[in-house]
Symmetry: C2
Subunit: 463 residues, 2 copies
């Protein structure tokens, strides 16, 4: 058997990656150093790769290697993240990788929804079909693996810490529990649901509720990790997460036999995801894996739309805002960490920013659900943006479009039940696709005639 | 490119399958006939395959073919169910397959949990990481595809119908919505949670609440489908579902490079899953894909344990019972449809039946969660049975064990929140692994010293 780490039969090429300041090209740090900001200017870091080494192998050989590993049995290379290890995080020894078989999620062909919209080549990338139910897993595996590597080399990391309004804490706690590394999560008291709380709690994370909002939690998480050099920060300000997330770009291309879609629509809050997608596509192009770039769309909730406002001004300025309450709670962020990364990406990719009201995002989710999806509110934001761009003829009928679904709808049952109960008035939602359950007597005649009366309506719904 | 349907480069072999009565070998029906019981004796049907045709290809070639298709891009063969189409359901034309990329779920290496138990080769097959969040998808894809095939040949199927207490209706509604086939689901009023109701509702199924229990709904679903020959019955009495489910057996072997585990533990209610697993292993052995059989364990909730009671009597009799309320609601079944199939399988596989109290299943889930899982209550039943069999030394330290997790924990958030809130007293649960969130003042000093005080406890938890 050929070892998965071997590139060819005879050579094993060394790959290198490091942290580098976004602004100071001379500021480099090892990926196993505990550092989150440039020591010279305080700017954000990004992970940079030795592209010359990556470009030394022919594109066909990379594609063949990535395909050979994809969803196979050689740990950890069956994970779609670690199957691209050389371009993701070569620094980690295989035995320190903490992987729960990330990626490989369904590229849902939205056949019926696409027909309704007049865009027949429409796909929904189901990143929420995962261990913890959101796309956060694919970034967290990289971060937690690096921490395991750090610990293996004898450094002290007493705990990993994050602030969260839900998905991040779930992913961190699960990977921490699997790896046996303590986790501390800081959540804003009274602002997360019982269901959102129970994932980190069940996975044994020290779960603290603080009398503040998400930003307040974030500040304390940073303080714990920075000032003490003590706890390892797992929020997406840490660019290791983006390295995992960028593999969504590679995977969606791989899943279409290495063809690039025309458009990708992704919901945007903290803007790490769009930054990661852009990075993935640019690095793929540099390696010769693809030749063209897709156009990228960031979809924001209108209640938290600083990037959209900046887009309207041609990105000349970026003003953080105070986010208002939105059903798309994971992207209720007025001061996104990765705004600078995102704008750079959007400029490169001829990008578009669209926004969706509460009413639009809720209806878009419900419309999609009627065609077989079970869209979370953030996916609803992306779908609503898609609908608008199709109506505006920005996206054309023949275009191939991929919508990134960031979480499983099962993470947001209350959003669904309240929509169909007509109970989202406080958000201004008028549910046009509301579905109502029926109470019927439990006798054959009653049920039979009730169903018969509703058959035409049912049939009309599934055209 | 070699067509996925071609077995070798030059020949395409015809495969055949049909319905056959479990008792009358001469009673055969086409898979596209709308029939659920033997027309002669009224007995259950099963799907039988032309094993001579399947055996005509060498095992190595089957393995290579299944591996070549697994999670790849040639629709629908990338689905782990349809990648085994010849041995699952050869009757369906590819264009009528309704697939949402089933299977390919993580085989979670329960490294830390196994170490705690002293069984280091312990795996949890995560069948709930799927489109609707339960293993039902892998059976439903086969059934709905057959219905699409029936409709394509000009027959009338006005709707598909099922009775359900949760997971089945979610899967049927999603696949029906994706395919554009009307769905009717019958649910017992007041006995399903809002979250369980909302999946079929959101997917546009006609959702009826009836003033009866699950058995009452089942009776009406049968009546609608049988007496009228009108609606297509999607409950697991229809053996098409089992053909999809049996691929879990193939997939778990494939995911260990075609090695068979020593033990498989699966929760059992209606007993379709154990029947399907058994069928999968026996057919694999007949095809030469494997040489040995695993031992199989059915884990039942003590509140719904007719198979366990029968096992204690050496399977001499089987007595349906009135199931009592259990947290493992999907297996709260006193009169399982597939009891006869299950007993046949257990006798063949030197099988074991174990049961778990409410207290045991809840604690088993919580203990597993602390090692990175997020186990649904049914998986909790299977884990509790495993713990007992290890303690009894039935399962040995060196054995390779696979526990089948049937649903994502996100389908049962209330089970988790109530456990950790200490709120399951009505079920007699004394939560030994209860995790408690903490409220702390939102200042650095308070948080920092609180975390510091809890570090030792945290560290002890993750050993």
């Amino acid at each position: 058997m050929v070892l998965a780490t071997q590139i060819s039969d005879s050579t094993a090429v060394p790959y290198r990656a490091w942290f580098q300041c976004m602004h100071c090209p001379d500021q480099h740090y090892s990926l196993t150093e505990v550092v989150y900001r440039c020591k010279s200017c305080g700017g954000l870091l990004e992970v940079r790769h030795d592209m010359a080494a990556l470009k030394a192998l022919e594109p066909d050989k990379w594609r063949a290697l990535f395909d050979r590993r994809y969803m196979r049995t050689h740990y950890p290379y069956g994970s779609s993240v670690w199957g691209k290890k050389e371009m993701v995080c070569p620094a980690v020894a295989d035995e320190n990788v903490v992987s729960l078989y990330e990626g490989g999620s369904n590229m849902f062909w939205a056949e019926r929804l696409g027909r309704q919209l007049g865009v027949e080549d429409l796909w929904v990338k189901q990143c929420g079909d995962s261990h913890t139910g959101s796309f956060k897993d694919i970034g967290m595996t990289v971060l937690v693996s690096i921490v395991k590597q750090i610990i293996a080399t004898g450094q002290q990391v007493p705990a990993m810490v994050c602030a969260s309004s839900g998905d991040t804490s779930a992913a961190l706690a699960a990977y921490g529990a699997a790896a046996g590394i303590p986790v501390v999560v800081l959540l804003p008291r009274g602002k997360v649901t019982a269901a959102q709380m129970v994932q980190p709690l069940a996975n044994g994370a020290l779960t603290l509720f603080l009398d503040t909002d998400f930003d307040g939690c974030m500040k304390l998480a940073k303080a714990l990790s920075n000032e003490e050099q003590f706890y390892y920060l797992a929020n997406s300000m840490n660019p290791l997460r983006l390295e995992g997330q960028k593999t969504v770009a590679v995977e969606m291309v791989q899943q279409d036999d290495w063809t690039v879609p025309d458009w990708i629509v992704v919901p945007g809050g903290n803007l790490g995801n769009i930054s990661a997608l852009g990075k993935g596509f640019l690095e793929m192009r540099e390696m010769g894996l693809i030749e063209v770039l897709p156009r990228l769309v960031v979809a924001q909730a209108a209640h938290a739309d600083p990037l959209y406002q900046s887009y309207l001004r041609g990105f000349e300025t970026f003003e953080p805002q105070r986010a208002r309450k939105t059903l798309a709670s994971a992207i209720q962020i007025g001061a996104p960490v990765s705004w600078e990364r995102a704008i750079r990406v959007l400029k490169t990719f001829d990008g578009v920013v669209e926004c969706a009201s509460e009413d639009e995002l809720a209806d878009a989710s419900a419309k999609a659900d009627l065609t077989g999806l079970f869209a979370c509110p953030h996916t609803g934001v992306a779908l609503a943006a898609l609908f608008k761009l199709v109506a505006q003829k920005v996206i054309a009928p023949k275009d191939k479009v991929v919508v990134v679904s960031t979480a499983h709808g099962l993470k947001f049952p209350e959003f669904k039940t309240r929509y169909h109960a007509g109970d989202l008035e406080e958000f201004g939602v008028v549910p046009r696709f509301r579905q109502i359950p029926h109470e019927v007597g439990a006798e054959y005649g009653a049920v039979q005639s009730f169903v018969l009366r509703h058959l035409d309506g049912l049939r009309a719904k599934v055209v």
